[in-house]
Assembly symmetry: C2
Homo-oligomer: 358 residues x 2
């Protein structure tokens, strides 16, 4: 475990122009984060006059701030290739560049995910031995939080990529929680006898044989993600994205039911009034904003993606997570583990996927 | 829409021996269902002495009941092939046979899913034009219930199978709700630009061009399942199974949070006491037992799978669903639509999956 850094020595770059809600929402989020104890210096990247206007509306006192002007904006619906071609003057490019040039320890953006991935890969490169970045989510669970990855960056993966996700998720979880040996599981369906799991079976085999250090518990099911018994849940980006959004929808539905129960009649309303403090805590717990901020793991620098539609509270959470991660550098740990596992993985005898499908 | 049948003229076959909780739980579920107004005659299939003992403990009065003796039991962990070979004297085989022979209008089993699929396919055959059965789930939503399929029967599917699932889900939803044109969506990740969706894009294209009657709304995301805006959500069995279990886990986690909020201190407890009636309704809504009972669609007969671990309440729900479906026959509707869509689908120009992957 790396030594914890002095947080006032950190700098976080913020792509102020990205996101659906506009620059003012981003600056408002920064203001809340500073009020809640964020210590890192903020490097605000975007149109100078807009940032200054937003800061006038949401002042952050004498907290260290630097503005880096960038004229361009990557649109939320730009294709990654197009964003790459014409983005070199954009706030997103500039914010990522500050990490590349060592002027910032991490970057956060609410902008276009595809463009952020492409711009980050181009500037920061991948960690040696990692094929593609994975988007990871913090997921509330009975024991606190679980890390789930990939939640949308890679719709199709190989067994080797799932192994890389497992190693990255483990290092990420360790950086966040200081738990030395996080429990890692591969997301699968319950029944053992089904076809189509060759990929996952191969990934499990490689993990078991090539990474004996990992506390790998084998396959887990959808309901295990929130059970608290597994810390890192590994899956492809298609399944992970659908699981994440399904959970958000479920929480929202149940939240509506709870609200209905609390206001259905006078007696219930009187009861709810007595319970106000407990209900407030419940509301905070159920607020998706409290877990906003997903690092794109595998890059040679810290890049955190916020929900495009995040409001100030969500942006604050993402900034807090980014500071936490910048203070516990884990990229070296990923690089070291990946190198040794990739090496040993070569001798693992995996099933032939094409043959198994027949 | 088919005419509704007189429910007292229906017979439901019950595989009494399947399930984790044993025959008494199944009979107890039948007792609750009868008390709540189930009208169909019950054909109880299993060991006669065990059924009689269970009926003595959970009597169902003068409700029409017939016992069909079967000596064998399919074990919960039997492989389908093994279950098929040695299962012809089992309660599962006997229960499905009663549908084949026209002595029952539907069958319900809490037993081994793989064995139930295999035994049902062998005896009841598939509907012409349907490749494989799909397991469908009733999913609570803002507007009532959505149907999601496949939730675990087919881990890998083709675009044509997704189209078949859509047609089956539409007919199933119509039978349950009498809504003439249910809204059908294909489950996908949010971002359009991702690879790996050739399969789903092809399915969407076929549905649009070959089934103009369907109210097909295109792609939906995980959070749309419970939003109430889509009635039938179509996906492969891997994704569907993980989405279903993830939602169950999320509901359980949020339920634990709610319980904690209600009992965290004296004031909260006093408030909760005032709210008791509303909270009871909330608890029922959140109980997975209330949506137990998933038909295996595509078979030439009505086969409903209950959770293996279902308790009496869940078995009651599954029996109620089975009666509802038996009273609104929809197998002919599936057959008719599948035939015409399959015919038109041949002229739809779909993408080459292999080429798109390059």
């Amino acid at each position: 475990m790396a030594m914890q850094m002095d947080r006032t020595a950190l700098t976080l770059a913020v792509d102020v122009m990205g996101g659906d809600k506009g620059p003012k929402e981003v600056i408002h989020g920064a203001q809340i984060a500073v009020n809640r104890g964020l210590q890192a210096k903020l490097l605000l990247v975007g149109r100078e006059n807009i940032i200054e206007e937003a800061l006038a509306e949401h002042p952050i006192g004498d907290h260290p701030v630097e503005i880096q002007h960038a004229d361009g904006v990557v649109a939320m619906d730009d294709k990654p290739a197009r964003a790459l071609r014409r983005s070199k003057d954009s706030s997103m490019w500039g914010a990522v560049a500050s990490v590349k040039e060592g002027r910032a320890d991490g970057v956060i953006s609410c902008g276009n995910t595809g463009a952020l991935m492409a711009i980050s890969r181009l500037q920061l490169r991948m960690i040696e031995g990692i094929d593609r970045p994975a988007a990871s989510a913090l997921w509330p669970s009975r024991s606190g939080k679980a890390v789930v990855l990939d939640v949308g960056a890679n719709v199709e993966v190989t067994a080797e990529q799932l192994v890389q996700f497992a190693i990255m998720g483990e290092a990420y979880y360790r950086a966040l929680t200081e738990k030395e040996r996080p429990v890692v599981g591969l997301l699968n369906v319950g029944e053992e006898d089904l076809k189509g799991n060759t990929l996952i079976r191969n990934a499990a085999k490689i993990l078991r044989e090539a990474d004996p250090e990992m506390a790998f518990c084998g396959f887990v099911e959808g309901n295990d993600i929130s059970s608290g018994e597994v810390d890192v849940v590994v899956t492809d980006g298609f399944t992970g994205n659908i699981a994440l959004k399904t959970a958000e929808g479920t929480a929202r539905l149940v939240g509506a039911w709870v609200k209905e129960a609390l206001t259905s009649n006078l007696m219930a309303k009187a009861g709810a009034a007595l319970m106000m403090p407990s209900l407030k805590k419940l509301k905070t717990r159920m607020d998706p904003a409290s877990v906003n901020g997903a690092p794109l793991l595998g890059l040679g620098g810290l890049v955190v993606k916020s929900h495009g539609g995040a409001e100030a509270e969500g942006i604050c959470s993402a900034l807090m997570t980014t500071e936490e991660l910048a203070a516990h550098p884990f990229l070296d740990a990923i690089a070291k583990t990946v190198a040794s596992v990739n090496d040993r993985a070569k001798s693992v005898d995996v099933e032939d996927i094409a043959a198994a499908a027949e």
